[in-house]
């Protein structure tokens, strides 16, 4: 039986804003994530998926409930969990290489030890030759790739990805989806992948966690059970189509 890496127990998050009402972003959410699993998280826009990821990363704390990662409760950011944000937000004054090595600097480790790793990550995402380019010289897709490399540089056991390919066009997204799966196969990390694209969620994930609108509650946890590695043919698979329909129905969207 696979080991539980992340346990989210009865987590609620309420934001008190300056305005009149408090905003309940997440309500009483409980689920587990298994080690080495690729868990897709889908839900309507603005429902609280990002907030959940922030709680698991430790950037925020739950109003009630708790989150346990690798046996230890999450109270602050920790080195074994890395977050890949929706907006790459690269530092415009640093090269691709220096942007990727940024976490190493923050962790006060020796950059030289990670040069090799950075180079192989750059190669892995297909950005060889661009090591010394600056962000304003890169396309959106390239920035997203740098974002992923940055998340992987210090080899976290868990990767939390918040719609990392969101703003990109469908073709680039498809390419990056395949690249991500390749990385996942090779590195065997635990990945939580938030997306608004149901097709992408089913395509990538072992399971799909479906959220309701705000305040986010769990609508369903769906086992994908499709053969790996996923290929171009997967999307034609009957089960794939059925799953996609099922999830869209949960989200209240009828497919013609």
């Amino acid at each position: 039986m696979a080991k539980k890496l992340i346990e989210v127990k009865n987590v609620t998050k309420i934001f008190s804003s300056g305005k009149l009402e408090n905003i309940c972003a997440i309500q009483n959410v409980t689920f587990d994530v298994y080690k080495g699993e690729f868990l897709s998280i889908v839900g309507p826009s603005g429902c609280g998926k990002s907030t959940l990821l922030r709680l698991i990363t430790g950037l925020d704390t739950p109003t009630s409930g708790k989150i346990i990662v690798d046996g230890k409760e999450v109270l602050a950011p920790r080195p074994d969990v890395a977050m890949v944000f929706q907006d790459p937000t690269l530092m415009r004054w640093r090269t691709v290489m220096d942007n990727i090595l940024l976490p190493i600097e923050f962790m006060r480790e020796d950059k030289k030890k990670y040069l090799q790793k950075a180079s192989s990550l750059i190669k892995l995402v297909g950005l060889q030759g661009f090591e010394n380019f600056y962000p304003d010289e890169l396309s959106g897709g390239m920035k997203a790739r740098v974002n992923v490399c940055r998340g992987l540089i210090h080899d976290p056991s868990t990767l939390l990805m918040d719609e990392p390919f969101g703003p990109l066009d469908a073709l680039t997204r498809r390419t990056l989806d395949f690249e991500l799966m390749r990385i996942w196969h090779e590195t065997k990390k635990t990945i939580l992948f938030v997306t608004h694209d149901v097709r992408e969620g089913v395509f990538l994930g072992d399971r799909v966690l479906v959220f309701t609108e705000r305040p986010a509650r769990i609508k369903a946890m769906i086992n994908v059970n499709l053969p790996r590695p996923r290929t171009d043919e997967t999307e034609g698979n009957k089960r794939f189509i059925k799953l996609e329909r099922e999830i869209l129905a949960h989200l209240g969207v009828e497919k013609g």
């Binding site: 990363t57 430790g58 950037l59 602050a76 950011p77 920790r78 080195p79 890395a82 977050m83 944000f85 907006d87 937000t89 530092m91 415009r92 004054w93 640093r94 940024l102 976490p103 600097e105 923050f106 962790m107 600056y134 304003d136």
Partner: protein, 254 residues
């Protein structure tokens, strides 16, 4: 060369205006149409401007301006870093500092003489103050105007405030510091001359005062023209320096 011709062509109106003003300035006093006592002809003013006694007073003004400016920049950046690192310090001091900034330097200059004696120091302190504030305000702005995502990123790797300051905030603030420099350099020159005007005994500002007292308006106007030339010169230095800064540090790339 082509771009210079283009430049001249586009500014034909301005150039014509300047030539006209200069011509009027030269001939109206000489023809007696304007009092040559209070509006000396351009030629006389030009001669005074390059006379030995005037040129000897150029270095003191430059020295006062440059030293005060450098301390102002270092102080402004230094205090802004402290303010961002220690918010309580900012809360405690900023009221006092902004109040101090509102006091005209003309009023403070005589007080500084009492504290610091005659000589360069009171003038340098005046220049320091006019440089310090624009740099401080702009730098704090630059240190704080950051995409929240970048700050979250730093937080997610448990970066300390100091690390965030050095690696994230400070590089981000460089374009803002540049703006502060653009604002404060002309003021540095002007304030140096103002302090000299008030406190006397050397420098271009002192020459203005002298010119009024001995009723030599070629001296007075000559110093005003020198102020304009220095101000433009200093501004050009800043513009050129801006071009030398690596592209990666700038906000807008033109």
């Amino acid at each position: 060369m082509q771009s210079l011709t283009k430049l001249i062509k586009s500014r034909v109106g301005l150039i014509a205006l300047i030539v006209a003003v200069l011509a009027l300035w030269e001939f109206l006093p000489k023809l007696g149409l304007v009092s040559s006592l209070f509006v000396p002809p351009l030629e006389t003013i030009a001669k005074t401007m390059v006379s030995k006694s005037v040129l000897n007073n150029l270095p003191p003004t430059l020295y006062t301006a440059i030293v005060g400016f450098l301390f102002g920049v270092i102080g402004g950046i230094g205090v802004s870093l402290l303010f961002v690192l220690i918010p309580k310090l900012e809360k405690a001091l900023s009221g006092f500092l902004y109040g101090l900034n509102s006091v005209p330097k003309a009023v403070l200059a005589p007080i500084f003489v009492v504290w610091f004696g005659f000589g360069y120091l009171p003038k340098i302190v005046c220049v320091f103050l006019v440089t310090f504030f624009p740099i401080l305000v702009n730098t704090v702005d630059g240190l704080r105007t950051i995409d929240q995502n970048l700050l979250d990123l730093a937080k997610s790797y448990r970066a300390s405030s100091l690390q965030t300051l050095i690696k994230v905030r400070f590089p981000n603030s460089l374009p803002y510091i540049l703006t502060g420099l653009k604002i404060s350099t002309p003021y540095a020159i002007l304030t140096a001359m103002l302090a000299e005007f008030l406190l006397g005994y050397q420098g271009l500002g002192y020459m203005i005062q002298l010119g009024i007292v001995i009723v030599d308006y070629s001296l007075v106007l000559g110093m005003v023209l020198w102020a304009a030339i220095l101000g433009i010169g200093v501004y050009l230095i800043v513009i050129v320096s801006e071009k030398l800064i690596p592209r990666k540090y700038k906000l807008r790339v033109e």
